[in-house]
């Protein structure tokens, strides 16, 4: 029995001129993850002083040529976010810098190659893209940023204006697709998106064109790092195919969290004896612990962060053994499963099963990173 034939792969939406399944109206149009700055697994809204390379709210990193010049915090300063948003990411200068030629201070996100493979960059069919965001600063003027290739030697500096201090401004920058250079299309660095907070001349170039340089910003852009107490807040970041910005793509919380967990997963204690995983005694002083990950990660994690070793213990029957050191064992780890070796002072039994639990504290945690 025939039910008919569907010839269209495009569905007209109720919004005039917008079709689902076509161009930048498709689902997952936003290639930025956590663009609304909702997920903050590492810091849970706490302020951190950033070093030369620090991940802050999920997927968003800070890179600087000098450490301890900024604090970074979800919802820093507690200003009202732009309409439609509940969170933003804020950076505040705590130690001003007079920029030297080689200095750079940028907020960035590296987009995985798989998520921009359809851009066709590096080919004659490269697609035009548009970045949009809401920005807020105590400074006014022309600000800068860039897109950069996975090989770090091909970039497109851009500018945008913040005309009024301490007021949210929506910005939009359209960028022609890059027809040259090498662009990763698998699980490596696809495109680096930078928002500059102060960049010296070595890493600044003419806005509005691609060039074979490692540019992080546009020449002459405002330097946030040069003013003590200056602020730069951002949210609603979107990178999409097309020559104009469309409405921000909101995602369900669990969906956004899972996207973030491909790059970082944090396990926090709930109750004081939260169970983290299970282990097997290796010898009297070592217990090998294994933990399946919540979502497959981008690659085998290369970082483990944790609370102090003695915030963990092993239980086996009525025996409790407090951990003395933690060691990450990437040799027993892949993108789906983590291996950790924990040492105890003594009392371990080879081959015996143990439960890894929080040692009577609600502040223990384990975090695994596979960031780009």
């Amino acid at each position: 029995m025939a039910y008919g034939t569907v010839n269209a792969d495009v569905v007209q939406s109720s919004v005039s001129g917008v079709s689902l399944g076509a161009g930048n109206a498709t689902l997952m149009k936003n290639r930025i993850i956590n663009g609304a700055m909702v997920i903050d697994q590492r810091n849970a809204g706490a302020s951190v002083t950033v070093s030369t390379a620090t991940y802050c709210v999920d997927r968003w990193g800070f890179s600087g040529s000098q450490a301890s010049k900024f604090t970074a915090q979800q919802n820093a300063g507690s200003v009202t976010p732009p309409v439609g948003f509940s969170n933003y990411w804020g950076l505040t200068t705590i130690s001003p810098v007079s920029l030297a030629s080689g200095d750079y201070f940028v907020a960035y996100q590296v987009i995985e190659g798989y998520n921009v493979a359809d851009f066709g960059w590096g080919t004659a069919n490269a697609k035009t893209v548009t970045i949009s965001a809401w920005v807020y600063s105590s400074l006014t003027g022309t600000f800068g940023g860039s897109l950069r290739s996975s090989t770090n030697n091909y970039s497109y500096p851009f500018t945008y204006s913040i005309p009024v201090a301490n007021t949210w401004t929506q910005i939009s920058i359209t960028i022609p697709g890059a027809t040259s250079s090498t662009w990763n299309t698998t699980n490596g660095q696809g495109i680096l998106v930078n928002f500059a907070l102060g960049v010296g001349s070595t890493y600044s170039g003419t806005a509005g064109s691609w060039s074979a340089n490692n540019y992080l910003s546009a020449t002459g852009a405002t330097s946030v790092v040069s003013t003590n107490g200056a602020t730069f807040y951002i949210t609603g970041v979107q990178l999409e195919v097309g020559s104009s910005a469309t409405g921000f793509e909101y995602r369900q919380y669990q969906q956004e969290l899972a996207l973030c967990q491909r790059y970082y997963q944090r396990y926090n204690a709930g109750p004081a004896y939260t169970v983290y995983g299970y282990g097997t005694g290796f010898n009297a002083s070592t217990i090998n612990t294994f933990k399946p990950l919540q979502t497959p990660m981008r690659a085998t994690p290369t970082t483990l962060d944790s609370s102090a070793a003695n915030t963990f213990k092993f239980d086996s029957g009525s025996t409790a053994l407090v951990a003395t050191t933690i060691s990450y064992n990437p040799n027993y780890t892949n993108a789906n499963y983590i291996g950790i070796d924990l040492n105890i002072a003594s009392g371990g039994v080879a081959g015996q099963s143990y439960v890894l639990a929080s040692n009577n504290t609600t502040s223990s945690y384990l975090g695994f990173g596979a960031e780009l």
């Binding site: 010898n283 070592t286 970082t303 483990l304 944790s306 933690i326 060691s327 040799n331 070796d341």
Partner: protein, 56 residues
Amino acid sequence: MITYYIPRNSNIVVKKTVFDSGSEQHQVIDKDSTDYQAYLKWLEAGNTPLPADTGA
């Protein structure tokens, strides 16, 4: 405080940072990285990474 160790049954070098709060960060270091150069200097200074056979 920064130390280094080689996980059991591997030739991977892991950088371990213990912060004032007691929290820790363990990072696999790439042999092309500046971290690896720092590791080599750490060895030159007479330090020794934890041996692999301790299970650490």
